[in-house]
Symmetry: C2
Subunit: 145 residues, 2 copies
């Protein structure tokens, strides 16, 4: 029951919030744009406006339930906060996103920040490349241009 997560986050349990949380939880794709979520709601015959999707996602972000990412395509994507921090690597051909953590990278970021006199608040690392999955359209090509 998602109501609990919402209540714990200090948010009133309303139908739009529950539905949107469900979608985030059940989607095979962990990174969804507001439009993605809105379209799924329309499919589900839920009468929830796009503006509400944006509002709810922003509230979820403030509440720490989701993280907002800005990948290269310009549109923001939202990801449910499960587990701690991780970075992303995504395929420019098929859009597939994988998550990873590398302790060494994290560590060196701290050194860099310290050396330059910054206290780190957060960071965003996205690697763009080409994956080898069989479902990927450009699979096998050396280096797509």
């Amino acid at each position: 029951m998602e109501g609990n997560d919402l209540r714990k986050a200090g948010l009133k349990v309303t139908l739009p919030r529950v539905k949107i949380l469900e979608i985030l939880e059940n989607s095979p794709n962990r990174h969804l744009s507001a439009e993605d979520i809105y379209r799924r709601l329309v499919d589900l015959r839920e009468d929830i406006g796009l503006a509400t999707v944006y509002r709810v996602l922003t509230q979820f972000e403030s509440a720490g339930l989701v993280t907002r990412h800005h990948f290269a395509d310009g549109m923001a994507v939202f990801e449910l906060n499960a587990g701690p921090h991780h970075d992303h690597i995504l395929c420019l051909d098929c859009g597939h996103v994988e998550e990873f953590v590398d302790a060494g990278i994290e560590e060196r970021q701290n050194s860099v920040a310290e050396r330059l006199g910054f206290s780190i608040s957060e960071h965003a690392l996205v690697i763009y490349g080409h994956c080898q999955r069989t479902s990927c359209p450009h699979r096998g090509k050396k280096t797509a241009d």
Copy 2:
């Protein structure tokens, strides 16, 4: 003479392109938005439209003259391609941006990509934090909220 750089990049040498390149070269701030550049042009009494600024910047990007970055604020910023690759660390209080390269981070990104079966095309690493510069408004605060 910037005309040469333009010609080498395969672009016709036109006044807007020359002016915009000059601005990118002479700005103390290496990271400029289209608006920033447009405002500078207006200040210089150059009759160049904002649309042209966008068009020229996009052409510069394709030609490899500049790199487009998407920092957290949403608006794209453009940076002249001098020197090779580097990452960015920026102050959430004053907007100050510093560049850095860390061989270890680069190296580990390659390992990560290899482990996950990706060939890297490019990557974007931005660290957000708080700087210690005297000109920074939040200077001295522990961890701004």
